[in-house]
């Protein structure tokens, strides 16, 4: 039994690592065979990703149906979510058959409107979160964060006529263009190395997020 489990692990790991390695080689070495293999593997991956979206949608609807049927707290919201999902599916079927742009209507007037409302709410949440930083123990990073935030907020706010220029606008501009860009680029270099390291860990089978 133990042998068969190990063989399964080796097989799965070899398939995953082999497919990843061939795709990577096809990207770096422009040989027709490798490019063809890469394209084929990527198209299979796209197909699998499409199936995974369906599975994700099924999981989402199942959870909400369970919430509603089980009379759990917030069950009414779950019912709305399920009805919304059904409406989008029906709209997707109706649009190509009848020519009525039901999908675009729902997308523009419900989905985008909802997402915009959530983004607007985010502004207030971030302001409250920034104020909450004051409650934390004082550290260099929290002081730098708050000083940068205050200078940027004052500097970027509309200037009132008649008030003297205290240099906040120039300081905010300098903060955004020099330390923020430098820090951002430093972070991006680190993140890029992290991305490569994660990919290589999976390719070398050091890390197996697909189970043992």
């Amino acid at each position: 039994m133990k042998v068969s489990i190990r063989f399964r692990n080796v097989l799965l790991t070899s398939i995953a690592a082999g497919a990843g390695l061939l795709t990577l080689l096809g990207y770096f070495i422009p040989v027709p065979v490798l490019i063809a293999v890469r394209m084929q593997l990527v198209s299979w991956a796209t197909l699998l990703a499409a199936v995974a979206v369906l599975i994700g949608a099924y999981s989402l609807v199942k959870a909400h149906v369970r919430n509603f049927m089980g009379f759990k707290a917030g069950g009414a919201y779950s019912l709305i979510a399920v009805l919304g999902f059904a409406a989008m599916v029906i709209a997707g079927i109706v649009t190509p058959v009848t020519g009525i742009p039901a999908s675009a209507f729902l997308l523009d007037h419900v989905v985008i409107a909802g997402a915009t409302a959530l983004s607007a709410l985010l502004l207030f949440v971030l302001v409250i979160a920034a104020a909450r930083v004051l409650r934390r123990p004082i550290s260099l990073t929290s002081v730098a964060f708050l000083v940068g935030l205050v200078i940027s907020l004052i500097g970027l706010a509309p200037t009132l006529t008649g008030l003297p220029d205290l240099g906040f606008a120039a300081a905010a501009g300098w903060l955004a263009q020099v330390p923020a860009v430098a820090g951002g680029r430093g972070l991006l270099i680190g993140i890029s190395l992290g991305v490569i390291a994660t990919g290589l860990r999976v390719l070398l089978a050091i890390d197996r997020p697909y189970g043992d």
Binding site: L24, Y27, F28, I29, P30, T46, L48, A49, V51, A52, V53, L54, I55, G56, A57, S59, L60, K62, A63, R66, N67, K72, A73, G74, Y77, G114, A115, L118, S119, L122, V125, L126, I128, A129, A130, V133, F145, G184, L187, L188, I189, G190, I191, L193, G194, V195, I196, A197, T198, G199, L200, R201, V202, L204, I206, D207, P209, Y210, G211, D212
Partner: protein
């Protein structure tokens, strides 16, 4: 030219990972333990140091720990970040499954959900707790970043959470999830890859994980020698890049370029 440079970087990175892994194994053998020796961790990640406490609180209180992978999808530009999040989720789940209520892993991607399901199954098997396995513990709560945030911000109430650990790909809307947790008095630990989101999460999370540390989370939590070796290789590559930039600056200043 770019492809050659890219290939050279990948080969150098791979060589460093293999070299550090071999060194760790030899060190362990020469110490006579028969096990691979653990390479040293070059730096502390304060945000992740809070994880054992968060897991302990969840286990003791009989509530669930929410592990959020974020709204990234496998197969897209967030693949690496999602894989790093899944790796960390697997390590956390393997410890948190000893509690009465298994951890809840949420994502906005079907493929990530399937992998999370697999990780949870393995974690339960490893802890001899298959009878407590909840097939709904790996869940898609929304299919877009905004719907993911909307779906996850009701979880503190609906699922009686002990805290939220967000490690993966997410936009600034993730601050909404963390705010919902904070208002419910729960601990939040968060690390993402996007720089703008990191700024938002620095304010919104109790324990932010900054920079590229989200990619080090799996290694940092598990302390597995092979993973730590890859972390060491990453640190060495960073030093090489810094050295290269410094040389470039010097060459440009001196007029050599």
């Amino acid at each position: 030219m770019t492809a050659i440079l890219g290939l050279a970087t990948v080969l150098m990175f791979t060589s460093l990972i293999v070299a550090f892994s071999v060194l760790a194994t030899r060190k362990g053998k020469s110490a006579g333990s028969g096990r691979a020796g653990s390479p040293q961790i070059s730096r502390d990640i304060p945000g992740l140091d809070q994880l054992p406490q968060a897991v302990g609180e969840a286990v003791e209180s009989g509530r669930r720990l929410h592990i959020a992978i974020g709204s990234g999808a496998l197969g897209g530009q967030d693949t690496s970040t999602s894989l790093a999040g899944l790796s960390a989720a697997g390590q956390i789940a393997s410890v948190a499954v000893v509690g009465d209520r298994p951890p809840l892993i949420t994502t906005a991607d079907g493929a990530s959900m399937l992998l999370a399901y697999d990780l949870l199954t393995e974690a339960h098997k490893g802890a001899n707790a298959s009878d407590r396995f909840d097939p709904n513990a790996a869940r898609v709560v929304g299919l877009s970043p905004e719907s993911y945030a909307a779906g996850a911000l009701v979880l503190p109430k609906d699922e009686k959470l002990a805290g939220t650990v967000l490690l993966g790909a997410a936009g600034p809307e993730a601050a909404l999830i963390l705010d919902a947790n904070t208002r419910a008095g729960l601990t939040t630990i968060a690390g993402v890859d996007k720089v703008a989101t990191q700024a938002a999460l620095f304010a919104a999370a109790d324990h932010p994980v900054l920079g590229e540390d989200v990619f080090a989370a799996g290694a940092y939590i598990s302390r597995r020698p092979a993973l730590l070796a890859s972390l060491q290789a990453q640190d060495w590559m960073r030093m090489l890049v810094i050295g290269g930039i410094a040389l470039g600056v010097l060459a440009k200043t001196m007029g050599w370029l």
